[in-house]
């Protein structure tokens, strides 16, 4: 494989990206999208690992640092987790550039956590064959969760949450009552793309950290059940026995490899075989 570290004009700025190209003719492009975690390489550890493995499947890949992250210039003071507008535009610009330099238009997307929200925003494009979403949040945050997330240490709310008795008597029932159970708009919108694209949602059995709660799973299953048969077949939910996938970067290498082994063959199957493979198959 060959790697091309590049700067891509994206959403009015420039982002640092690495385009990885297999030795032979690339059959398509895999765009990888990171969460907002600690990333030791451009893109993320997951993105870097996917770039190696995608090349073995004859696929090009491109990874990048979002504006204001890692090596990409720009200032982002805060991330609204449900607003993927800018990240989505950056991703599309990166994809467009990769597509132009490689002369390949079809692509798949792999995203973790926040990156999976961005991935969902890209599946509607006709050239997108599918998306693998690693630990995507499927429900909108409810009011209690938002208060909880914003409450600092030492606050009354944090006291309530931290006290086992009060928590059980007050917080948990309230949280349960006021929790959202609607699918996030990004997920609903992405389901509309199942007329042409595949969607794979991947979680670990650490359901709380990966946010696949019983309520989330029920909402997801209900939405999938309402789809026409052909679209339902394009959706897959996988739960693997591993540490939380939201912490992919720090999972043991064997678990990381197991996760890649699960979804990369799926992604591989979304693309047309190379000319050489096609000739072999026809023979």
């Amino acid at each position: 494989m060959r790697q091309f570290p590049i700067w891509v004009p994206a959403d009015g700025g420039e982002v640092a990206a690495v385009l990885t190209v297999p030795d032979g003719e690339p059959r398509g492009i895999v765009l990888t999208l990171a969460g907002t975690g600690r990333h030791v390489a451009i893109g993320s550890t997951m993105s870097a690992l996917v770039s190696q493995r995608a090349a073995e499947h004859g696929l090009a890949s491109v990874r990048f640092d979002y504006t204001g992250v890692g090596d990409s210039p720009g200032i982002v003071e805060s991330w609204a987790l449900s607003d993927v507008g800018s990240a989505s535009r950056q991703a599309l610009d990166v994809l467009t550039t990769a597509s132009e330099v490689l002369g390949v238009s079809q692509y798949a997307v792999v995203g973790t956590c926040y990156g999976s929200r961005v991935a969902l925003s890209l599946v509607g494009h006709p050239a997108c064959l599918g998306a693998v979403c690693i630990a995507p949040p499927v429900l909108e945050h409810g009011k209690v969760v938002n208060i909880g997330r914003s409450a600092g240490h030492g606050s009354r709310f944090s006291f309530v949450r931290g006290n086992p008795v009060i928590r059980k008597a007050v917080y948990d029932p309230l949280r349960s009552l006021l929790k959202e159970s609607k699918l996030a708009p990004g997920v609903r919108c992405a389901f509309g793309a199942l007329d042409h694209a595949k969607l794979v949602f991947l979680y670990s059995d650490d359901h709380e950290r990966d946010q696949l709660t019983g309520r989330a799973r029920a909402a997801l299953e209900k939405a999938v059940a309402s789809l026409p048969e052909d679209q339902r077949r394009r959706f897959a939910l996988h739960v693997v026995s591993a540490g939380a996938l939201t912490t992919f970067e720090v999972l043991p290498p064997d678990e990381q490899a197991m996760i890649l082994d699960l979804f990369l063959p799926l992604v591989d199957g979304w693309f047309e075989p190379s000319r050489a493979e096609a000739v072999l198959q026809s023979a």
Partner: protein, 339 residues
Amino acid sequence: MIVAAGKATPGPCRGGRISIDEERLAQLRRHDAPADGIFEEFMECRLGAGASLALLAAPLEAPRDEAWIVCPSIGPEHGNLRRLEAMAARRLAAEGHPTLRIRPDVHPHDGLAREIDLAERLREIEDAVRLVTGELGAQTVGLVGSFFGGTAAALACDRLGLSALVLIEPVPRGKRFLKEIMRRHAVAELVRTAEIDGLGGSGAPTAGTAAPRKELETQGSTMLQGLWLSQAEADEISAVDLSTDLRSFRGRSLLVGVAPNGQLSPTLRALGDQLEALGGDVTTTVIEDPLFAPFGEYYYMNAGPVRVDTRLELDRHVAEVTATWVAGHRHAEPLAATT
């Protein structure tokens, strides 16, 4: 070892069936930021045995004779320091200094290195010094590093006879560095387990909660937040102590501390005294910052549906302090041999 990789040839590559627009890829190696008066460019050569990326930030106008190299920290904390390194490099470039940052990445053949490896980081610094003095024609070279990247930078400055050094919240003793990254790993694991408990999960300890030091002893290696540490490497790092390892560095240095109370730490004070005793010109400064998370740790804070960057102002401040100090100390000194 400096490795040429991904070298672009003019025009679309039409060999075989692959049609890649390599001319455009060559152009995309660089971007200009006229508002800042700088450009950034991924150099064609790569550094060290792991083929780390060499990323140059340099002025659009004629560069000064002194180049700087930003040395990455060696542990998992590096991921949280990349933005600071990038900001410092851009500010130094805006002051006219070509500044190279070392970016460990995927080796074209061996893949992504997942080991903590001080010797490899030092090799990359040597390669980077050769690159800036050779290809870029720098007359003098300074090194910048934060956390244990600062320690690596100090060791390299001493060994290579370089002229200037900026250490940002350095950890002068390898033993302390190991203790700190193991402590941070243990805290992260504890938080993870506590969250599982608190949220109604099983709370069963995972493999990662085993004490890393015990794993090192019994298994010869351990994984700290996604990176392997071998017993041999732990021994190597433990042996580092700048109070005895720095013997000949007489250049100018800036020591930047970061503390919630704004006080200079005894460690930094002792390091400054030592550098002065060697004959160096030392400046120390402390930036007061509440440090939502320890320096080098994950710095985003959840605030409702928003994730807030708590490190932005500090990173800007550190970059500014560094660039201002470099600008105030411009003088050319001959470069010592780097082989």
